[in-house]
Symmetry: C2
Subunit: 229 residues, 2 copies
């Protein structure tokens, strides 16, 4: 069976990719990376290196045009700054509404694009790395369980039952995802998470904070922040 992995080059989707390679064999795995006008194009570079590491087919798609009208702080054309706070604090400030780094319906768009490509290439499964922490408190409503269920139904039905979505981490915390990845020897030193487009991770944005915590809870130093190994 062939599988398409939605692949950003971050911790979650790289773990997902590692799982897919372990389960299906690298010759049956295709990774799809999407550029959407994000400030942190370093994740695209990271995805390329990781795909090379695994020796899998790697597709790249540019959907930046679709987000022309969004003022999401994650986008390079936005003048809004990326909040340097945890998601919990950000949500307290938005009153439970999506945070400023919510890219409008991004996961829905990525999954739909993945579905079109998966059906075309005969991949019966789309893997993607949504996990429980992302959805917490509606920070990213397109990561919630309810969203995933509806989108998975839409893809299964709308593909004429040719393709389905699997989100193996949907009930897990990021720390639990990292635990799986450490067991699978996922090359976390090649991944990129930080939302800022700088040379090194800022260590202050929501995703840097979450990442550090996930490794700390596993009693491991994050290899992505270590400069000299």
């Amino acid at each position: 069976m062939k599988v398409l992995v939605l692949f950003s080059g971050g911790v979650d989707s790289t773990t997902c990719l590692g799982m897919a390679v372990a389960q299906y064999g690298k010759e049956n795995v295709t990774a799809l990376s999407v550029s959407y006008g994000q400030k942190h194009t370093k994740e695209i570079e990271a995805s390329r290196k990781i795909a090379e590491y695994y020796g899998i087919e790697h597709l790249y798609l540019n959907l930046a045009e679709i987000f022309t009208y969004s003022n999401c702080s994650l986008l390079s054309h936005s003048e809004r700054e990326i909040p340097q706070e945890s998601y919990a604090r950000q949500l307290a400030m938005t009153g439970g509404k999506p945070v400023s780094t919510y890219v409008p319906f991004r996961n829905g768009l990525f999954l739909a694009s993945a579905a079109s490509i998966a059906i075309s290439k005969g991949c019966e499964v789309i893997y993607y790395g949504a996990h429980a922490d992302d959805a917490a408190g509606n920070a990213y409503p397109d990561c919630s369980d309810a969203f995933n269920r509806a989108m998975n139904d839409a893809i299964f039905i709308g593909s004429g039952r040719q393709c389905k979505v699997e989100a193996p981490f949907v009930g897990l915390t990021k720390a639990q995802v990292v635990k799986i990845g450490l067991d699978l020897k996922v090359p976390y030193e090649l991944t990129w998470s930080c939302y800022e487009g700088q040379e090194n991770p800022c260590g202050k944005c929501g995703t840097c904070i979450d990442r550090a915590e996930a490794f700390r809870l596993n009693g491991v130093v994050d290899p992505g922040t270590v400069k000299e190994l």
Copy 2:
């Protein structure tokens, strides 16, 4: 309230656009047309003329790259010919599987793109023209009631309840859609339906056959096939 209309330049979506303009006023309506590598780029020209006719904002998106790997007969890079038969006969030949003009998850991708844009532009509603005949017998599984329900849920939930989909024709036949459009004085003479990219409609493909029948059932000559009015 602002509304985004998924708009191909064909009979159904043009009727949808006419309804949206009548209900919300032209200043609150944005139309979104998508190029996806189709043979019939004439529908894009048609959509431009119709948007001009209504004096509405018109956005255009090119998603052809996503369908690079599809061999759907509707695509300009495909060598497969577009069947010159009714959908009923085509389905009999595919054994109930999607017909050769099924573009992989096209409607899901279009709706997801529309959701990203609608949220960005503050449109609370996405209108689109799926109707009962499209879904009949699974010719296009991404037009079915079940698909629409799931996709609508995904968009409502995944947008953080900022945006919902309305498909006003989902329980209607194409003939009933045309009836509504005739009452609204929709400029059907500007629309384009034929799947072949020729100068004039072929009159033989599934969509030409359906279109002719829909006007015939309303006792009207299709203004889109009349050369001299």
